[in-house]
């Protein structure tokens, strides 16, 4: 006995609602735990009296984090590295993407292909030779060395995304500008860039978070405490086998905030941006 169309649709809708609830709990539970732990006193974090929500919320963990650890140094370093990487990748990628979409030259297809190959090349494969190279040019233990290495994964990705956007700009706009005497660089700066601001924002977000999160290169290229970034700095809060979970969770809250804020503010752009670049239907 088959259900009527509308009844079966209502059932599907109900099941969908239940699944959604489960997925939301699964998604939020660890984040809830992170936030709540960061606001708890030691006695509420550990032992038999451990609570599922803070009875007496306190900012003590945050005070410890800023006063007694190097967190601010790591945070500052991450900010510098991620901003510098984003800045350079935007310039390099915009130039490259423009050449690959608008200029006809021999080897264009080859370069486009090589770009994807480099994008898919895992950093876990490259970190050993990269360590030798960075060391030999004297950039070990410097933020410059990290920025230079990070361009290896941000540039191909950004160029690839930007190519998709640049292609969507009507070429007639550029042609008429050039008839009016505009140079290629002028076209790029005055027409293409202003028209693709949302796209550039998306690309900037990706290169910022990619470099903000990077772990492998940061662990091998940098060993000095004062050039460590968040991904290698926070795990070092563990002393021996002892984890200081309160301050640790406070640090993860603060480190997750910048990407999350950008995500909430720009999510419409990010999602259409990502899917435009990666999935065209």
């Amino acid at each position: 006995m088959a259900l009527t169309q509308s009844a079966s649709r209502r059932v599907a809708h109900g099941i969908g609602g239940v699944i959604l609830l489960v997925l939301i709990v699964w998604t939020l539970a660890p984040l809830y735990w992170m936030l709540v732990t960061s606001l708890k006193d030691k006695s509420e974090i550990y032992g038999a009296a451990a609570t599922l929500w803070p009875a007496e919320p306190t900012l003590e963990n945050y005070r410890v984090l800023f006063a007694d650890t190097n967190f601010l140094i790591y945070f500052r370093n991450s900010l510098i590295v991620a901003s510098a990487t984003t800045f350079f990748s935007l310039i390099i990628a915009a130039l490259g993407a423009y050449a690959l979409t608008r200029l006809r030259f021999p080897g264009r297809r080859f370069v486009a292909r090589a770009l994807i190959y480099t994008y898919l090349m895992p950093s876990s494969l490259l970190f050993i030779p990269l360590l030798i190279i960075i060391r030999s040019i004297g950039l070990q233990n410097t933020l410059e060395g990290l920025v230079f290495s990070y361009l290896g994964f941000t540039v191909p990705f950004c160029t690839w995304l930007l190519m998709g956007y640049f292609m969507s700009i009507p070429i007639e706009l550029e042609e008429s500008a050039m008839i009016d005497g505009c140079t290629r660089l002028g076209v790029l700066l005055r027409i293409v860039v202003p028209l693709t601001v949302p796209a550039l924002a998306v690309v900037a977000f990706f290169s910022f978070t990619l470099s903000w999160n990077e772990f492998i290169y940061a662990s091998v290229l940098v060993t000095d405490v004062d050039v460590r970034t968040i991904p290698t700095g926070i795990p070092s809060f563990v002393v021996g086998d002892v984890f200081f979970w309160g301050p640790m969770m406070a640090s993860t809250v603060i480190s997750a905030v910048p990407p999350l804020v950008v995500y909430f503010v720009f999510q419409r752009f990010l999602i259409t941006g990502l899917t435009l670049g990666a999935v065209k239907g």
Binding site: Q5, S8, I19, L20, L23, I24, T27, A29, L31, W33, I45, A50, L52, I91, I92, A93, Y98, A99, L100, L103, V111, A112, R113, Y117, T118, L120, M121, P122, S124, L125, L126, I128, P129, F148, S149, G152, V155, P156, T159, R184, N213, F215, I216, V220, I230, I234, P235, W245, M249, T252, S255, A256, P259, L260, Y263, Q267, T275, V279, K280, G281
Partner: protein, 286 residues
């Protein structure tokens, strides 16, 4: 125009040659060398590879890598498709639910791993506290130390962090399917179930392929989750190749052997990379 193109591309080409192409060639060479940090390398042919094959742990780790990647990718696919289908149903406040389900994508993997490390804590973690208080467990389980649980716990974190990537792609794919297709099928008397299997799934196949391949490459080569949660423990049961290479290189300084470990994975990656490049470029020209 050629000079201009060359000028525009020069920075990208220089950077990528220095930090990707040259290091890759170098990694290949290193894998045939006995090279320790600070000392000159000595060519030993297939010596590193022979050493790996003779090591029973290596086969275990190789198997783990395949298992970890396969299971994580499979679960991410299923949850991602389910989420996308549910989010695509007409429902009030849908954009809020979507925003929530995409959050793990914006959480850095390192942060996610540290948070889960705390959720899994044997004595004070959320998972054990909740299970014990609900009466489902008498004592907390050391999720990351029990041979039976460790790999599952690690995979769960990779799934938590990586599913939104699938959901996003699949949701965009679902929304791009022309309504007319469904309307035509409805006129032919097809129900929702048949529409799903005969229209939705076939139309989505190109998206499935690209997402799965990209995710396989990223999952099998990312070390953060394993490195932070277990670093391979207990007894290498959760160890995967890239993290083994990382450990051997950073703690023992054996750069030649470390490169060889990664190179073992490379032939498999190459297949994916070539297929993916072909698909991405074809899509690009359409």
């Amino acid at each position: 125009m050629r000079t201009l193109a060359a000028l525009f591309l020069l920075p990208a080409v220089v950077v990528l040659t220095c930090v990707v192409l040259y290091p890759f060639a170098y990694a290949l060479v290193l894998s045939f060398q006995d090279k320790t940090a600070g000392l000159p390398g000595r060519f030993i042919g297939l010596g590193n590879y022979a050493e790996l094959l003779a090591d029973p742990d290596f086969l275990l780790i190789f198997g783990n890598t395949v298992w970890y990647t396969g299971i994580a990718v499979g679960i991410k696919f299923v949850i991602g498709l389910t989420s996308a289908v549910v989010l695509n149903q007409p429902r009030r406040f849908n954009n809020i639910y979507r925003t929530i389900l995409f959050i793990p994508w914006a959480v850095p993997t390192l942060i996610a791993s540290l948070v889960w490390l705390w959720v899994y804590n044997e004595f004070n973690g959320l998972l054990n506290l909740a299970l014990v208080r609900m009466g489902l467990l008498k004592y907390g389980i050391a999720w990351l130390a029990e041979p039976e649980w460790a790999m599952r716990a690690v995979i769960a974190v990779a799934v938590w962090n990586g599913t939104p990537f699938y959901t996003m792609h699949f949701l965009a794919g679902l929304q791009a399917i022309p309504k007319e297709l469904y309307e035509a099928a409805a006129t032919d008397g097809a129900g929702d179930y048949r529409k799903f299997w005969h229209i939705t799934i076939p139309t989505m196949i190109p998206i499935f392929t690209i997402t799965l391949m990209l995710s396989t490459v990223f999952t099998s080569t990312s070390i953060v989750v394993v490195n932070i949660l277990t670093n391979g423990a207990p007894a290498n049961l959760t160890q995967i190749l890239p993290n083994a290479s990382f450990n051997i290189t950073t703690s023992a300084g054996r750069m030649g052997l470390g490169s060889a470990i990664n190179m073992v994975l490379f032939p498999f990656l190459v297949v994916f990379i070539i297929l993916l490049t072909r698909r991405l470029l074809r899509k690009d020209e359409a």
